[in-house]
């Protein structure tokens, strides 16, 4: 009997050596914890799965909203702004122009709103179990990628209708999508963390998204902005994303500079917000 018990203890000791968790108050800067996210990728997948399932279950239209939202906006903008001369570039039908901008914009806007509420909505689990808190805003953003894929399908239909064929530049689409996701993650995780303490964020986000849309070339072309302001304009990461999307799908001059500036800006935003998130994360369970 004793022998069997000893053997079990010995084998368990082998397994135990691998997991050591140290708990202590953390000070100052620390790593971004992306390795931990990777280690918990299955849970990330489950959170995305939950968000999708709940969202589609609770709505009558389900995934239809992914299409309906940009389509309705396209109709409204085509009927209003689209009638003004010079809002869109010459030679491109305005509805196609605006829809190609609305598809990445909707990905960004919904992800941002979802992420900023993700921690507050996850209060029940944050106070009851440990997991990397970053998973919640990340999952929220991830869940909108499916909506995005569906709306890309709708975009293909619109392109077909207008007889627009994409060029080889379409290979840049994934990279531009990543840029939109990085931006949404950056702003979303920051707002999610602030939201834990200050629920004002809930009221700020819809307003912010609205303003931001008009600060990005979604319903008008970026060439309307004077050349000397272009670099500052591109500090808004969504400028590069939206212009890049149009270029990749429906052609036009390649917005090299815009994309480059925007890409750097989006990475900086994400980096800054991850650092902030990790610093305040330790108090979430106490404050929320």
């Amino acid at each position: 009997m004793a022998l069997i018990k000893n053997r079990r203890t010995a084998s368990a000791a082998g397994a135990w050596g691998r997991h050591v968790v140290v708990l202590e108050p953390r000070h100052g800067w620390r790593e971004l914890g992306l390795g931990e996210i990777w280690a918990h990728r299955e849970l990330l997948y489950f959170f995305i799965w939950r968000d999708l399932k709940v969202r589609y279950k609770q709505t009558a239209f389900g995934a239809g909203w992914a299409v309906l939202q940009p389509v309705l906006l396209m109709l409204v903008f085509s009927a209003s702004l689209g009638r003004l001369p010079g809002v869109g570039p010459a030679g491109l039908p305005y509805p196609l122009f605006v829809f190609a901008g609305l598809v990445p914009w909707t990905l960004f806007a919904s992800s941002l709103a979802g992420a900023s509420n993700s921690l507050v909505n996850g209060e029940a689990i944050i106070t009851k179990v440990y997991f990397p808190r970053l998973l919640l805003p990340f999952a929220s953003v991830g869940s909108f990628l499916l909506d995005f894929a569906i709306s890309l399908g709708a975009l293909a239909v619109v392109m077909l209708y207008f007889g627009a064929a994409p060029s080889l530049a379409i290979v840049w689409l994934p990279a531009l999508t990543v840029m939109a996701v990085v931006t949404a993650l950056g702003v979303g995780t920051f707002l999610a963390a602030v939201n834990v303490r200050y629920r004002d964020v809930k009221y700020v986000v819809p307003f912010l998204v609205q303003l931001w849309m008009f600060a990005s070339p979604v319903v008008y072309t970026s060439t309307l902005i004077p050349a000397k302001w272009q670099v500052i304009y591109a500090l808004n990461p969504m400028t590069g994303v939206v212009e890049g999307f149009r270029w990749a799908l429906v052609g036009g001059p390649r917005p090299d500079d815009l994309i480059l500036v925007s890409a750097v800006a989006s990475l900086l935003v994400l980096l800054g917000s991850l650092v902030y998130f990790r610093r305040v994360e330790r108090t979430f369970a106490d404050v929320i």
Binding site: A13, W16, H19, L23, K128, R197
Partner: protein
């Protein structure tokens, strides 16, 4: 080091009361605070509005042991558990956990009301730290254990509270961490299932896993734990073999009172059906309620708020324990037949249990107060060790012990009817 699962030294946790709680500050102030907080170094000096929920807690838990954590409400039990399970960071100190950690601080962690039982098993399992393959592998066993069969594909929001508890615990029961933290999760649910869970937990302990178990239930602690830790005001008072620690806890009686009252019907112990309003020990003949003369009767008065929906019949039952955690007896208000068969109306109900004089034994009596409904048995409100009092026997010759002054065993000391008569008369005695 190999034999230690958890070692902690100097753990402390400070909460600030009343500071930065106002969510409606001006926006500029808000943003400034957020910025300032993120840049300022952590402050650890004492301030007026600081509250130390835990102070200087050091402990070592050998691998494979089951350790109970006991203490009054507010002693720091939950805070300790939250720190060890990584939900919150300690303000000071350090702890090391050697092994995969699982925590079970509530039943049904991560459940989403809209999702089906099937979906929630996957989700809750993943949140509690199980791998997808592991959950799928154990799926059938979990469903069996929860006994929810035909409701597997029904949204959890349509489940009864009993079913939710069963499903939640079933998922948790199949967690296989090397270190498991369990908070008072067994206080709800029906009695039958509680027994099943306790059985499952004994298995967990026997499987070589380390378990830290917070509970108010001394019988559960005594049954499951080899060692126990007694906390008081955030400090470790005693850390040792279970029976010693439990005895110290019961003897100290710190905070045991003969009268409890909950002012707020929202936060009082209970659920939508019933919430406790008060529990009182009332000596029928007057006098102090903490110290009862063994010869005189007392009343235990329980008041509760009830919504009494449908034909549910909430019923008060009282569990009486002695110092050793032995249950003396349990009684239920269905002994009032008239009330039991009457239809219930929402409002406040007072149930009084009359305990005759010359019935209890000497010593401390601890009363757990419960409001339940039956068929199926569901506990709606429970306050473990709600009130306590000490029964004293002054040995004045008219009690049960009569003139006998030495140790008088027995968990109760009823004065029973005797009849004694002379059967015959003889000139001489026996022998």
């Amino acid at each position: 080091m190999d034999d230690i699962a958890i070692s902690a030294s100097g753990l402390a946790k400070k909460y600030q009361i009343g500071v930065r709680r106002d969510p409606y500050g001006r926006l500029s102030e808000t943003l400034w605070n957020a910025l300032a907080n993120s840049l300022r170094r952590r402050r650890t000096e004492d301030r007026q509005d600081d509250f130390w929920a835990l102070r200087d807690v050091s402990l070592e838990v050998p691998r494979g042991s089951v350790v109970g954590v006991i203490g009054r409400n507010g002693a720091g039990k939950s805070t300790l558990l939250k720190i060890l399970s990584r939900i919150t960071e300690p303000t000071l100190g350090r702890a090391e956990l050697h092994g995969r950690v699982g925590s079970l601080l509530e039943v049904g962690t991560g459940f989403h009301q809209e999702l089906t039982g099937r979906d929630n098993i996957l989700l809750s399992g993943a949140i509690l730290g199980m791998k997808r393959a592991e959950i799928l592998h154990k799926f059938d066993e979990i469903v069996d254990f929860a006994d929810i069969g035909q409701f597997l594909d029904t949204p959890v929001k349509r489940y009864s509270s009993g079913m939710k508890v069963r499903l939640g615990f079933a998922v948790a029961a199949f967690l296989e961490p090397e270190i498991l933290f369990i908070d008072e999760v067994l206080a709800v649910g029906d009695a039958e299932f509680q027994k099943k869970c306790l059985g499952k937990m004994s298995e967990i302990g026997a499987g070589g896993r380390t378990v830290i178990f917070v509970s108010h239930s001394m019988p559960a602690i005594q049954r499951l734990c080899d060692r126990a830790i007694l906390l008081d005001h955030g400090r470790v008072v005693l850390n040792g073999p279970t029976h010693e620690v439990v005895r110290r806890y019961l003897e100290s009686g710190s905070g045991h009172t003969s009268s409890r009252e909950w002012a707020d019907p929202v936060s009082a112990p209970g659920d939508d059906v019933a919430r406790l309003k008060s529990v009182r020990v009332v000596p029928v003949g007057g006098g102090p309620a903490e110290e009862i003369d063994i010869r005189y009767p007392i009343d235990i008065e329980v008041e509760y708020w009830t919504a009494a929906p449908g034909d549910l019949r909430p019923s008060v039952n009282l569990h009486f324990y002695n110092d050793e955690g032995v249950c003396l007896f349990i009684n239920n208000d269905w002994n009032d037949r008239g009330w039991w068969s009457s239809s219930r109306r929402p409002g406040v109900v007072r149930a009084t249990c009359h305990i005759p004089g010359n019935f209890l034994a000497e010593g401390r009596v601890i009363v757990t107060s419960v409001v339940s409904t039956y068929n199926p048995t569901i506990v709606h409100a429970i306050e473990q060790e709600a009130v306590a009092f000490v029964v004293v026997d002054r040995s004045e010759g008219d009690g049960v012990r009569g003139v006998y002054a030495n140790e008088f065993p027995g968990v109760v000391r009823p004065m029973l009817d005797w009849h004694v008569e002379q059967v015959s008369e003889a000139a001489t005695g026996p022998g």
